[in-house]
């Protein structure tokens, strides 16, 4: 089991003081990052992936500072889906998913399995650039699933933002399955429905600081969310119990009767 541990990292010339004290997303659970735009969700994920060097403190992957690990060694323990998938060559969908195995032992069955789990088998031979934005995001998730090893770390930055609801639900199922199999999942989202379905724990980041970290059942609630996100929240009864949805209607002027 690979542990991911944030030891009071200070990133970007002191602007982002991410975690006072030690903070570690739990293995076998999905931790969802929420918070306002520009608050630091992407910074946390990039730093966790070793792309940004903390100026103080450390981010440890299995006890080793993540930014100092050789890229191939890090790739064996951690997969990342960036906010906007970019592919600068005319590859097929299968080619892109196969990139998840570039520095890993070749495993064609893993690639086909990842395509099937994300509903992309039919599209596997299509050019990546012929797909819609949501389909391209599914390809990026499939690539990460092909790379990811059981017990590793999965980092997702708004990975379902452009995916339509039925497909997003299928991706949520697959990501939760990875967590149940022992993965540490850290996923940023601004969609409260996705957060409710995905989260075991919630890490709220605002202004580059940790505003809250704890169990989703306590933080994704009508009481906590207005304070954390500044938005009115309604509750609905879903398959995982009570879920929170943003109630945009709350700020509309009341229609005269």
């Amino acid at each position: 089991m690979t542990t991911l541990r944030f030891q009071s990292p200070v990133i970007v010339r002191g602007t982002f003081v991410l975690a006072p004290g030690e903070l570690a997303p739990a293995a076998g659970r999905v931790t969802v990052l929420i918070g306002p735009n520009g608050g630091g969700k992407t910074t946390v994920l990039r730093a966790a992936a070793g792309m940004q060097l903390p100026e103080q403190g450390a981010i440890l992957l299995g006890g080793v500072p993540v930014h100092s690990m050789p890229a191939a060694q890090r790739a064996a323990r951690m997969a990342l889906v960036a906010q906007r998938p970019e592919v600068g060559a005319p590859f097929s969908v299968r080619d892109v998913v196969a990139l998840g195995r570039v520095s890993r032992p070749s495993a064609p069955e893993r690639i086909e399995h990842a395509l099937a789990r994300t509903g992309l088998t039919e599209l596997a031979d299509r050019p990546f650039h012929a797909l819609s934005g949501g389909q391209q995001q599914r390809v990026a998730v499939a690539r990460a699933l092909a790379q990811h090893e059981p017990g590793g770390v999965l980092l997702l930055d708004e990975a379902f933002a452009a995916v339509d609801p039925p497909e997003a639900a299928a991706l949520v199922r697959e990501i939760r399955a990875e967590a149940l199999a022992g993965a540490t999942v850290l996923a940023a989202t601004h969609d409260l429905s996705v957060a409710s379905a995905l989260a075991d724990d919630v890490w709220c980041i605002a202004g580059g600081r940790t505003a809250a970290f704890g169990d989703a059942r306590e933080l994704l609630t009508q009481q906590a969310l207005p304070r954390l996100l500044g938005v009115a929240v309604a509750e609905a009864h879903g398959a995982r119990g009570t879920i929170a949805v943003a109630d945009y209607g709350a700020i509309l002027p009341k229609a005269p009767r």
Binding site: R46, A49, G50, M51, P70, A71, A72, Q73, R74, A75, A76, M78, A79, L80, V81, A82, R84, P85, E86, V87, G88, A89, P90, F91, S92, D95, L99, G100, V102, S103, R104, D125, R126, P127, H129, A140, R143, Q147, L155
Partner: protein, 331 residues
Amino acid sequence: MMHRRPMVGLALVAAVSCLAVAARLLVVRTLDGSFLVGWPGPTLGQFRGDAVLVACAAGAALGASGAILQTLLRNPLASPFVLGVTSGAGAGVAFASLAASMAGIAAPTGAALGVPALAGALLALGCVLLLSRRHGALDPVTLILGGVIVGAIASAGSTVAESLLPPERRGLFNGWLFGRIPDVPDPGALAACAAAALGLTGLGAAWGNRLDGAALSDDEARSIGIALGPMRTAMFIGCGVATAATVALCGPIAFVGLLAPHCARALVGARNRMLVPGAALAGAGLLTAADALRQWIDVGGGRLPLGAVTAVFGGVAFLVLLRRTAAGWMS
């Protein structure tokens, strides 16, 4: 169109390139305008054989460089010429000749031209990459514009250096500045160019999977396990060496490095393990075919310069690619 059988595509590219070689060796236009087909005898045969060797070595080096640069820079319009690397290498040679003239020593020739050519190539590539960095990433449009501008400045520099040379020292530049297949190639320069072409093609094919990964965004490429910085540095230097070796042999040749990867991609697909060798073969075939065309077309004032043939055909193809790819995989 996606490609399940890149080996078949590669064989097809090789076959077409062999046709170009056969055409250059066996078909000739006589002075009265008729075409003769057949082996020309030992002396002319040697002459044509040398021309084919030069065209294949230079074309392969440019084709492989173009394929690698297009992948690394995630830009379908990248190539040694478009990025100003070719002209930079030319300017390096021109200024080395000028410096030698001012110092009163013999101008570098043959394989020794490779040293100033490499310095000029890497300087031009470095300038273009620096110019096009925006917020830590390469801006695709600025990259091409920067390449065009750096290339134009380098070409102008070559012309200035040539005009400052005393007339008796301008022999080297006779036709060279526009790209030409030398009548009697320098064996050292030819061997260096062939070695650079083979080496870069081998490196590109061996690192094909990693090159594929570099097509992702920087963060994602690193996250799948690619040491992006060292790989980019090694590949940029490799492309600089191959381009410099070409310039030392033939002078600056336009657009072969741009077109060869696109021809190869249509037949072998986009995966670099096959694309880089395919682009090297296509480059060899394209440059040989351009040299054959040059021998066959008489516009009244004698045969066309090789650089003019590649520039006219390549320039038109560049415009077509620009329109086709602007909305495609250029991010």
